[in-house]
Amino acid sequence: MSGESVLRFEDVCLWFGETPGLDHVSFEIAAGESRIIYGAAGSGKTTLLKTALGLLTPDSGRIFVFGEDVTGLKESAWFGIRARMGMLFQEGGLFDSMTVGENVAYPVVNSLAYRLARHEANGEVQDKVREVLRFVDLEQTFDKVPSELSGGMRRRVGIARAIVTEPPLVLYDSPTAGLDPITANTIVTLILKERDLRNAASLFVTHRFQDGHLMAKFRYNPSSGQIEAASQDGDKPGRTKFFVMNGGRLVFTGTLAELQIAEDPYVRKFAK
């Protein structure tokens, strides 16, 4: 399991006025690992993701992304680092003014490498965008605008946009919130597929117990195109760990088995 460190928080604190956003948060994720983050609304889950992405600046503590100290980095210096991270926002965060195809192409077209090569690779970008849209099973929406899509479809496009550059770290902010169970499972399947085919590290914020259960106990079978049950993490024990957040603090860290026998009443609520 010990790969190189992808993301490390050291005693990170962030305050919104008098209320704590993050309260002495420390953890580390290595390449290929997943973290499921449970917590009530307002417990700091989204704040944690946004801090990891540099959208919020912590008041104290240090953050390392891909082994690089990013604490107090200037906004312009963040752009290169963010190019190696994918993020799915709660409602998808798609740009209304662009088509689905343009949305998914956005991270590629705005990358430094593409801007230097300029237009030479235009056809390649189109192919790549179609390939990723096929991955989330939405190739037919290429020319539609986000307002024409359903909530579940918008999140799937959001996933496509997050992974189009094949980032080694993907952050998912409540991808299943407010969706029916069938659509929610489709989305978790996509995330499993992304994890097992590309071995990307991920942070997965949710408040549905089933999501974490699926992530820990199932794997994607490329030959059948379906997910299937595996023992805990299959042959990679400890790859999926669980965090529970409360009031900006990490109140629980451990595996699924440890979560299920936790005694803390707040933590227990998330263990079914």
Binding site: L53, F89, G93
Partner: protein, 252 residues
């Protein structure tokens, strides 16, 4: 003791920071030419009809009111002079700016505000684009280019409006209207008439974007930002036109 001043001072500081960043981005890549053109179309072409109408009618109104006053002194021949000076120096720029503030400062605040509350601005940053570079600077450039042009068009139609009243209602001959209207204009008047819309453009675009970018609190917040953008930019237009007018009056 002065705690009540904290928030406005903080907001003003944020506004100055946004202004600095937006201005700096004009001289720094990457430039979003498409976005500038789209905004020019929305602000310039989009406002053209209403600006033409308002320009024409302000000339008609001024002609009507001024001619009545001038007639008591037997000076209806001076109507062209009065209309041209008042329109070009003051009324044209202010009226057009207020219209564009109502149309576009509100549009910018609501568009950027909706993007803010639906996390599109965060998404933009997460995808490696500076939202000020991509959203604010194109709007600033587009407004700064189109507002002076709109003002020139409104001024001209206002002069035509004044002429229609003078010619048909008060029987002022063609050259008696247009000659003083043209000859009494100094370069300082024209400069004032162009410096003002340029300054108003900066106010309108930056105030609109500023309130849009700091929207919080969902759709209700978008409504609040939109209202604030229109009110604040209108107030600043009046304050600025007073002080700019003062400078130009003292210069001559």
């Amino acid at each position: 003791m002065f705690d009540f001043l904290k928030r406005p001072v903080q907001a003003f500081q944020d506004f100055i920071l946004l202004t600095g960043k937006a201005m700096r981005n004009i001289f720094r890549g990457p430039h979003y030419g498409d976005d500038i053109l789209i905004q020019m179309d929305a602000i310039g072409v989009g406002s053209l009809m209403i600006v033409m109408l308002v320009g024409l009618f302000s000339g008609l109104i001024m002609g009507q009111q001024m001619a009545r006053a001038l007639r008591t002194y037997g000076a209806t021949g001076q109507i062209g002079y009065i209309v041209s000076v008042a329109l070009i120096r003051e009324l044209g720029p202010v009226l057009v700016a207020l219209l564009v503030a109502g149309r576009n400062a509100s549009g910018m605040a609501s568009e950027l505000g909706s993007m803010k509350v639906t996390e599109q601005i965060d998404a933009m940053r997460a995808l490696g684009t500076d939202p000020i570079q991509k959203l604010v600077t194109p709007r600033l450039i587009a407004t700064a280019v189109t507002l002076p042009l709109l003002t020139i068009i409104a001024d001209f139609l206002g002069l035509v409006g004044g002429f229609l009243i003078a010619y048909f209602q008060f029987a002022v001959p063609f050259s008696q209207y247009w000659t003083p209207a043209w000859q009494n204009l100094a370069y300082a008047d024209v400069a004032e008439g162009l410096v003002k819309p340029f300054s108003f453009a900066i106010i309108i675009s930056l105030v609109g974007c500023f309130y849009g970018m700091r929207t919080t609190g969902g759709t209700e917040g978008v409504g609040r930002s939109t209202t604030k953008a229109v009110v604040v930019s209108s107030i600043w237009i009046f304050v600025t036109t007073y002080f700019l007018g003062k400078i130009f009056v003292n210069m001559r």
